[in-house]
């Protein structure tokens, strides 16, 4: 008969083994893919950061329509830091992310006077204002055509080895590293006291205020942190494709983020990741290879409707059910352990 300590150790070893397998799979992945699929993998990893950062904001109960524009703020700022001021690309990426966070902080003052549906519309309007500013001011934003010839991430020289980040495999590893660290930070943040307060602000904001929690401050904090990481994803994108323009960050792109989050689910940190991974593979790999290029929007819409009808809790609920089934066979954790937010 196992005592509690050995059970915990077994569980920890299980997690470590799972994590190790995942890491090995992610490292091996690009070598199993074609060149174009490697490109898709790069954008997929960047989008993982975008959608996971979006989830952080949703923890406080607010859904924004401006998150992709905030991503664009990071991309534009990072591009301008390198093009106009000659800042090295790695530093410019961090400054771009910080610019996105600073923009979110300023926007928080008018936006968090609203809640729910009004916040949603307000965030859309704020995003459009930013996009129109990019269009209106040719200097420094390049107008409707945006910015191009954005410097790419510099080559890394290790002895005789030169790592060219223009190559999708190398950039994939760079993005994987950055995104893994970012997701880990977001995961730890959610499990911290601050993360618990985000949940409290979402589910019991009046109660939280009655015990001295400033809901405005915590909503702002979530918005700023989420925007920092969205900005970082924008910077990663900008220095890879070498161009940013206002259309790339319009509401149409935001709809995709919403779909990823809805189809994947937002109760767990892996929910939106599942959403973006599954839908990207279906949209960019499977449907294209089947020759359904022009039918993809139709399939995408159908998947969204089917998901809402048959998986209202998102793809993450399938993981919960699978674990439940596994636990029923006496093999693992119960469903109450699934939520990362559960303490």
């Amino acid at each position: 008969m196992r005592d509690g300590g050995s059970a915990d150790r077994g569980k920890a070893w299980g997690w470590l083994a799972g994590l190790g397998l995942l890491c090995a799979a992610l490292i091996a992945l690009p070598h199993l893919l074609s060149y174009s699929q490697q490109e898709i993998a790069v954008f997929l990893v960047i989008n993982v950061l975008l959608v996971v950062s979006y989830r952080l904001l949703t923890l406080t109960g607010e859904w924004s329509l401006g998150h992709v524009v905030i991503m664009g703020v990071g991309g534009y700022a990072s591009a301008l830091f390198t093009k106009a001021l000659g800042v090295p690309v790695p530093l410019a990426m961090l400054l771009g992310a910080a610019s996105a966070a600073a923009t979110a902080f300023v926007l928080a003052f008018p936006l968090f006077r609203m809640k729910g549906f009004y916040f949603l519309i307000g965030s859309f309007a704020a995003g459009e204002v930013i996009r129109l500013l990019w269009k209106r001011f040719r200097v420094p934003f390049g107008g409707p055509k945006g910015l191009k010839l954005i410097p790419s991430f510099p080559d890394l020289e290790i002895g005789a080895l030169t790592i060219d980040f223009f190559e999708p495999v190398n950039y994939y590893y760079l993005c994987l590293l950055v995104v893994s660290i970012s997701v880990f930070i977001l995961y730890r943040l959610e499990r911290s006291r601050i993360g618990l307060t985000f949940h409290a602000v979402h589910w019991q904001d009046s109660l939280a205020e009655s015990v001295g929690v400033s809901t405005w401050r915590y909503r702002t904090l979530a918005f700023v942190i989420a925007s920092f990481f969205a900005g970082l994803s924008g910077a990663l994108l900008a220095h890879y494709i070498g161009t940013v323009n206002p259309n790339r960050f319009d509401v149409g792109e935001m709809v995709f983020v919403l779909i990823w989050a809805i189809v994947g689910g937002t109760a767990t940190i892996y929910g939106p990741i599942l959403g973006v991974v599954v839908l990207t593979i279906i949209n960019e790999v499977v449907l294209r290879q089947l020759g359904f290029d022009q039918m993809r929007p139709l399939f995408y819409g159908a998947i969204l409707i089917a998901s809402i009808l048959f998986l209202p809790q998102g793809l993450e609920s399938l993981v919960g059910k699978a674990r439940e089934a596994w636990a029923g066979r006496g093999g693992g954790a119960g469903p109450e352990d699934q939520r990362f937010g559960a303490q």
């Binding site: 074609s34 060149y35 174009s36 490697q38 490109e39 898709i40 954008f43 129109l132 269009k135 040719r138 390049g142 107008g143 409707p144 055509k145 945006g146 910015l147 191009k148 010839l149 790419s152 223009f166 999708p168 994108l237 890879y240 494709i241 070498g242 161009t243 323009n245 259309n247 790339r248 319009d250 509401v251 149409g252 960019e284 294209r288 290029d293 022009q294 993809r296 929007p297």
Partner: protein, 431 residues
């Protein structure tokens, strides 16, 4: 007596020996057999096939499919003593730079294409580094993508938006009493340089532009836009290079708000549908720049497009009601590329490009043209010649005249540079 099969006598050594010999023989013979078969050259089509800009990609792909079938049925293209069948490989870039980069990577590194056709615009900057690194020959419909850095990018068919000057010139010659105009366009990489061109063209003809309106590409309500424009009481309503999704509702609004004046536009894709939504009388005299290819004027000796009428008939048979501005353009680019490859005796991009540009002249679909663009784009990679002025008469597009873009440029080029510069569209002003 039962005979024993010979193979029973075969030792393992014999088996291995004969197998190796067989494989070696196959290795010697197979390449010769391959040489005997028709070769294939792949051409990439990297344009939006879905989304708002699909109208300037998908009809072009349809046209290319017809072109490839006809060329292949006639024996393919003749290059260096060999016949090549042409295989089209398409990739939907959704008019997004990241998808365009993925598509370019696939076409070049996986499919091994020798030439890529693009719409250009927002998607080109993401492809440019790949084209520069690989030396891939790429065509665009938007010469505003050209710059001194784009050595392997050519605009061999459509010199958008410069040809719009021909429509205004024809309008001024034929309706000299019209003296005021308003312009509206979506605020993007297509709309802005086109507005600069129309401003120059109107100024050259002493037509006053009383209002210019840019609307966002996400606009869906065109009633207030049209109300504002018509409040200026213009003689001419210019729809610039608006996408088909905007031209249609703008025309509807002009009709509903009682506009009786002249309309001029770069395109009028699917104009039959506009007529259905408005009226034949309202659309009478509508000027634009893209002919239907059943026009008798396209049967003249100047035209360098194989059987335009037959092409149009086949297109409409396969995709009724889908004929648009770009339906013939990519196919016409393929004609130029084919001529370049045949002249070079090679399908390699680095050899085809110099062959295409040799002598500074090329056979454009609408007549002989010159490689031009240094003053406006910083590089002579745009093929410029005559362009048709098309007018809707009795519900049908009719070519009224071919007018020379170089002739206009020689007379009014400074105006174009002035407005491009003012709009920040000169090559040295871009991002």
């Amino acid at each position: 007596m039962r005979s024993v099969p010979k193979y029973r006598d075969m030792s393992r050594r014999k088996f291995l020996g004969t197998t190796v010999a067989g494989v070696a023989l196959a290795g010697v013979v197979a390449p010769n057999l391959a040489f005997g078969a028709a070769k294939t050259v792949k051409v990439g089509f990297l344009a939006p096939l879905t989304g708002e800009v699909a109208a300037w990609g998908l009809p072009g792909l349809y046209g290319c499919q017809i072109w490839a079938e006809q060329v292949n049925a006639a024996g393919g293209i003749k290059v260096g003593g060999d016949s090549y069948q042409v295989e089209l490989v398409s990739y939907d870039n959704e008019y997004a730079p990241d998808k365009a980069r993925t598509g370019a990577t696939k076409l070049i590194r996986e499919d091994g294409v020798k030439f890529i056709m693009m719409l250009g615009g927002d998607t080109w900057p993401a492809v440019q580094p790949i084209a520069n690194r690989t030396g891939m020959l790429v065509s665009t419909l938007l010469p505003s993508d050209l710059s001194p850095d784009t050595k392997t990018l050519i605009a061999p068919c459509e010199v958008h938006p410069i040809y719009n000057v021909t429509g205004v010139q024809w309008l001024a010659e034929n309706k000299p009493d019209l003296k005021t105009a308003v312009i509206c366009a979506q605020d993007d990489a297509l709309g802005r340089p086109s507005v600069a061109t129309y401003l120059a063209a109107f100024e050259a003809e002493n037509i006053e532009v009383v209002d210019t309106v840019f609307f966002d590409i996400s606009a869906t309500d065109f009633a207030p836009i049209m109300t504002g424009l018509l409040a200026k009481n213009p003689d001419i309503l210019c729809l610039d290079t608006a996408y088909a999704d905007y031209v249609h509702p703008l025309c509807e609004q002009a009709y509903q708000q009682g506009f009786k004046g002249q309309i001029i536009s770069c395109t009028a894709d699917f104009y039959e549908k506009i007529i259905e939504k408005t009226s034949k009388e309202f659309m009478e005299g509508f000027i634009f720049q893209f002919p239907d290819f059943d026009d008798p004027a396209l049967n003249g000796p100047r035209i360098n497009f194989t059987d335009p009428n037959g092409f149009y008939a086949e297109y409409n048979k396969r995709w009724p009601g889908e004929w648009g501005a770009v339906s013939w353009e990519y196919a016409s680019i393929l004609d130029l590329w084919r001529a370049g490859a045949e002249k070079a005796g090679s399908v390699e991009p680095t050899e085809v490009l110099p062959a295409m540009k040799a002598g500074g002249k090329g056979l454009h679909a609408f007549g002989e043209a010159e490689w031009w663009g240094k003053e406006l784009f910083g590089i002579d990679n745009a093929l410029v010649g005559d362009w048709p002025v098309v007018v809707i008469e009795n519900g049908k597009a009719v070519i009224k005249e071919f007018k020379s873009i170089p002739a206009w440029w020689r007379k009014h080029g400074k105006l174009l540079v002035k407005h491009f510069d003012k709009m920040g569209e000169m090559y040295y002003q871009r991002g």
